[in-house]
């Protein structure tokens, strides 16, 4: 893959840049000081849930970070073994709770592939529409909360106001605002609500306006750029070695998106770009780049939604539950199926022993892998930078702990 090799060169340059940057900060100290152990979380305003960080500090300087996870562990994988496949769906929603649609779709897709179910075209259209809306909703939370971490409160509320419009569309369609249980094996729980295409077009108009506003107000704000540029630089090789995916990986300059590289559903019909970090305000792979990738993906998702709305089979009256089998019982075997959720590559490894319950389910969590990179990129930064790095990784603890 030529992109990776190119970005590796850029990343190496970034590393030397970073080394000099750090050397300036870490000049030899004459006064002997003691290190302080600070326990950040699980209750802390910016650990995004219940992450606990054991931070070793030398003054304001972060010497070491040790993340501790498991505060939201709910035995999701073990639970699935005693439930039928449709019963698993609500549990899947609760792993990545900021992108329930995406998680649900991932599992439904895995089971569909095992059973060889062909999903009607209309269902695929609705799925792509909702997956992209969900991606925008999730990125809006990420971008807004990132501003909050940096100290700007207002963009957070702007983002949430816009997200509310997306949630309204979901609510009209399936009745739930947060945990939808919408994507079923072989179909959907409800047909698209007739008002949604209209609402969606209105939303796109406002969303484009808001996108410009957020870019002006937050992303290119001088203080924001100073706070996040050249902070927490993640070189492409480290990102790949650590199993990073999604905006974290793309922020490091690696053009890797499963919607293009391992296509599923009907993504191959739509024309969209895959934004990558280019080191616009600092080195490639810094916190600003990761956030920038999310901001760009927000726009790309809007483009996809526009195409979906233009080509949607409005006359099609197929029942969205037509392809749902009477008895969901995949043949014996195993499958690994992966999708691109807002946080990256979310995979499901499902083993069936020809029963109505899965014999084993393993979820590959993108946020878990992304979070595991935190200690590698936050040594030697300041406390304020640590918060900026945590925010830029955009993990959901529900998915990390499962």
């Amino acid at each position: 893959m030529p992109e990776i090799i190119d970005s590796h060169k850029i990343a190496t340059r970034a590393l030397t840049k970073e080394a000099t940057f750090r050397a300036e900060k870490l000049e030899p100290r004459r006064v002997r000081t003691e290190e302080m152990l600070l326990n950040m979380g699980p209750q802390h305003p910016s650990t995004h849930g219940v992450l606990r960080l054991e931070v070793v500090l030398d003054g304001e300087l972060v010497v070491d970070v040790r993340p501790h996870i498991g505060y939201l562990h709910r035995c999701f994988e073990k639970h699935t073994e005693s439930m039928t496949y449709p019963q698993v769906m609500p549990y899947v929603d609760r792993t990545d709770y900021l992108a329930s649609m995406s998680s649900g779709h991932g599992f439904a897709l895995a089971v569909e592939r095992m059973m060889g179910i062909e999903v009607p075209e209309k269902v695929e259209y609705i799925r792509v529409l909702f997956l992209e809306l969900q991606r925008i909703a999730s990125h809006l939370v990420a971008i807004g909360a990132y501003g909050l971490d940096i100290g700007a409160f207002t963009p957070f509320l702007y983002c949430f106001e816009l997200r509310e419009r997306i949630i309204e569309m979901f609510e009209r369609t399936c009745g739930a605002r947060f945990l939808y249980n919408y994507m079923w094996v072989g179909g959907l729980s409800h047909d698209l609500h007739p008002t949604v295409p209209e609402l969606c077009r209105e939303f796109l108009k406002e969303s484009r306006k808001a996108h410009k506003e957020i870019v002006d107000l937050l992303t290119f704000n001088k203080i924001f750029v100073e706070r996040t540029g050249n902070v927490g630089i993640l070189p492409a090789d480290v990102a790949i070695a650590g199993g990073a995916s999604g905006p974290v990986l793309r922020g490091s300059g690696v053009k890797w998106d499963l919607r293009r590289d391992d296509p599923y559903s009907i993504y191959d019909r739509f024309d969209f770009d895959i934004p990558v970090g280019t080191g616009l305000v600092g080195a490639v792979g810094d916190a600003w780049d990761r956030n920038w990738v999310r901001v760009c993906e927000w726009e790309e998702s809007m483009n996809i939604i526009e195409q979906v709305l233009d080509t949607y089979p409005y006359e099609d009256t197929t029942n969205v539950q037509a392809a749902i089998p009477k008895r969901i019982k995949p043949p014996a075997g195993e499958i690994y199926s992966r999708t691109e959720t807002p946080r990256g590559e979310q995979g499901y490894y499902v083993v069936s022993r020809d029963g109505i319950n899965p014999w084993r389910v393993k979820q590959r969590s993108p946020a878990f892998c992304n979070l595991s990179l935190l200690p590698h990129i936050s040594r030697g930064c300041l406390v304020g930078d640590l918060i900026a790095i945590i925010g830029s990784l955009d993990f959901v603890l529900g998915e990390v702990d499962r």
Partner: protein, 364 residues
């Protein structure tokens, strides 16, 4: 105003010491009442302005349009349990909020509220206000150290280094005006700026000081504008407001130096912060924007309108600080120091030099 009060009490009690003491007590309690009333307005203002910026309504349930929300908040704070961490240094922990508030309150003593009212007319008024404000870092350090909490300690250390650093550009910016005015008495400085907006120090000061019939004002003005802007930025840091709110950086240090405080002790910190916001705004308005002078010369002048103009100008700066708070992100520790030592101080020294040369060479 003090003489009037004294006459009033003497007419009731006769010419005894009690009348004197009573008059003094009433006279000195005026700023306190002002701070309390202003505190209510500022709390409501902060809530409503932030709501306005963020497309929200803000508090709407308590009273008409939520006007009584500050009272409800204060009642809530009064009812809360006053906790002290078991491992805290009790003396420091308990004393800190009071010292903080004393620092803020004492600064109000030297502010000229109107031609008729100034708590204490000191001939080095500006000097007094700047030095009494230095009680704030002391109390913050006491709070941070006394709480025996790591977040508090880090917040306190950030705060003290920040306040001490930013006192320098703030002081240098004020020196420019003091050089032009030739006085440190805030009442004298205000009197000098009488006769309308063109005589304010931000526009080069009064014509009467100018030996060249107003032409040297044009030379002075840029330096004084620079000083004014520097003071504006430095005063944001002095009051721990965004983008310099590192001592209480919510996303990093939970609540900084007052993490462990609750109930009225927390309320005192809160009130002192708001009082400081007004105090720095008032200092800026006295030195640069004519204090209690009306912008239209004698029109709407006089002691009563003077109070109105003074409060209006002070509240304008408070409004500005609130707007900035809800718009900008926060700086990092090293960037904070960079802004102070490498940007503000050189520029303020430049302004001081420019003003000094003007004053000497133009023979003002």
């Amino acid at each position: 105003m003090f003489d009037g009060l004294l006459e009033f009490f003497k007419s009731i009690f006769g010419d005894i010491a009690a009348a004197n003491i009573l008059a003094l007590a009433v006279y000195s309690v005026v700023p306190l009442i002002f701070i309390l009333v202003y505190g209510l307005i500022a709390i409501l203002g902060e809530m409503k302005i932030s709501a306005w910026i963020q497309d929200r309504l803000g508090p709407m349930r308590t009273g008409p349009k939520g006007l009584f929300q500050p009272f409800a908040d204060i009642l809530k704070l009064l009812q809360k349990e006053d906790t002290t961490p078991t491992t805290a240094d009790r003396t420091l922990y308990n004393a800190a909020p009071y010292i903080m508030f004393v620092g803020a309150y004492a600064a109000f003593a030297a502010l000229p509220f109107s031609a008729a009212y100034i708590g204490a007319r000191i001939n080095t008024g500006i000097f007094f206000v700047l030095s009494i404000a230095s009680l704030v870092p002391v109390s913050i350090m006491m709070a941070g150290w006394g709480s025996n909490s790591k977040y508090s300690l880090m917040g306190a250390m950030r705060s003290v280094s920040q306040l001490i650093s930013y006192e320098i550009p703030a002081g240098l910016a004020l020196i420019s005006v003091v050089m032009v005015a030739g006085s440190m008495d805030m009442q004298t400085i205000t009197h000098l700026q009488s006769g309308g907006i063109q005589n304010w120090f931000i526009f080069g000061g009064p014509k009467s000081l100018d030996g060249f019939g107003g032409t040297s004002n044009l030379v002075l003005m840029p330096f004084l504008v620079i000083s004014f802007l520097i003071y504006l930025v430095a005063s944001l840091a002095e009051t721990n407001r965004v983008p310099f709110d590192l001592p209480e950086a919510e996303s990093e240090l939970v609540a900084g130096f007052h993490t462990e405080y609750s109930a009225m002790k927390f309320a005192l910190f809160f009130l002192a912060e708001y009082a400081n916001m007004f105090a720095v705004g008032a200092i800026a308005s006295v030195l640069f924007l004519g204090g209690w002078q009306s912008p239209f010369g004698d029109f709407l002048g006089g002691p009563v309108f003077g109070f109105f103009w003074f409060v209006l100008k002070g509240l304008f700066f408070v409004f500005l600080q609130i707007c900035i708070r809800w718009t900008l992100p926060r700086l990092r520790v090293d960037q904070l120091m960079y802004v102070c030592w490498k940007v503000l101080i050189p520029f303020s020294l430049f302004a001081v030099l420019g003003v000094g040369l003007c004053v000497v060479m133009l023979n003002r």
